[in-house]
């Protein structure tokens, strides 16, 4: 009897495996590379500010307050999609948002911000993408949640949505903020 049921059990086991695969890929984007930086200090950087190109912003300048480092570019269509969400987050004052203008032309970035609005407290310019490599950036948009102590708390690949803010970003801040 058991012998006869053996193919059936094999079928059930295979179904369970495939189902688990589907569930896993629903929960998170299987193409997104998890950041090896989570829980570690963010890489050091010294990048010019977009609005004041002769001003260099360093990682140490941004310590003391958690912030969302939002990788964006004028050439990135999904950045436009997340732009209202980022704007809303910044306006609500719940989290400081720093822009990371990735591999962009200065004029294009300024025009883009003029057209859609500038939600960023500060914008860093990574024109050649070198600082982006240190952060493990491989596209835009990407967002890093950085704690007041300069540690990377979270990385989100792809457009930030209100769900991402509520479920992934803000809960992490409650731990680090009094």
């Amino acid at each position: 009897m058991i012998r006869r049921l053996l193919p059936f059990f094999a079928f059930v086991a295979l179904s369970a495996l495939l189902y688990a695969g589907i569930r896993l890929s629903q929960e998170r984007d299987p193409n997104a590379i998890p950041s090896p930086l989570i829980g570690k200090p963010a890489p050091e950087f010294a990048l010019p500010a977009l609005h004041q190109p002769d001003q260099i912003v360093r990682k140490s300048d941004l310590l003391g307050q958690p912030y969302l480092l939002n990788v964006f570019a004028s050439w990135c269509p999904s950045c436009r999609v997340e732009h209202p969400v980022i704007t809303e987050l910044s306006r609500s004052g719940r989290l400081k948002v720093i822009g990371f203008n990735y591999k962009d032309q200065r004029e294009d970035a300024l025009r883009w911000l003029q057209q859609f609005g500038d939600p960023y407290a500060q914008i860093l310019v990574d024109a050649d993408g070198r600082a982006g490599i240190d952060f493990g950036v491989y596209g835009a948009p990407e967002s890093f949640l950085i704690g007041a102590d300069g540690k990377v708390l979270h990385k989100h690949v792809g457009p930030v949505t209100p769900e991402v803010i509520e479920r992934e970003l803000l809960p992490l801040l409650q731990g680090s903020q009094p």
């Binding site: 193409n31 590379i33 998890p34 950041s35 090896p36 930086l37 591999k103 050649d128 993408g129 070198r130 982006g132 490599i133 240190d134 952060f135 493990g136 950036v137 491989y138 596209g139």
Partner: protein, 145 residues
């Protein structure tokens, strides 16, 4: 005869162009360095495009990482150091040859386990057939489908 010449020329052209296609020109100092670069970047996986190596990909980040690999080579880093540089930033995802770790056991030994299971099933079937002298039921017409 002439046709064969044409064919060889064509094949040769294809081979050469596929090598030359490897995108942005970098100032290699000799062929050995270029070969090393080719070998290394074809072992690294493009972070953007999944099923292409760093050597093959046209993605923007792949071009940047190729430049970075080249710069690290110029700085005298070994292949292992360059791979460490990339895994520190992009995890083991970038390696086509993932290291043996507890979470990659299934990846490394899964195929062997499946092969073994297949061998065991085949042995069982062969044994059973050898033991019972032709126990197979005579197929009736209904079972044809």
């Amino acid at each position: 005869m002439k046709r064969i010449h044409w064919l060889t020329a064509l094949v040769w052209l294809l081979l050469v162009s596929s090598k030359a296609l490897a995108i942005d020109p970098l100032p290699f100092k000799d062929a050995a360095e270029e070969d090393r670069f080719r070998a290394l970047t074809s072992e690294l996986r493009c972070v953007m495009c999944q099923n292409q190596s760093l050597a093959d990909s046209n993605a923007m980040i792949a071009g940047d990482l190729r430049k970075e690999v080249f710069a690290l080579m110029q700085a005298g880093k070994t292949d292992a150091e360059i791979k460490d540089f990339l895994t520190e930033r992009y995890t083991d995802f970038v390696l086509y040859d993932p290291p043996l770790q507890s979470k990659t056991w299934l990846l490394w030994f899964g195929p062997v386990a499946i092969l073994l299971a297949g061998v065991i099933v085949v042995i069982m079937i062969v044994r059973r057939r050898a033991a019972g002298p032709d126990q197979a039921p005579t197929p009736s017409n209904d079972e044809e489908w």
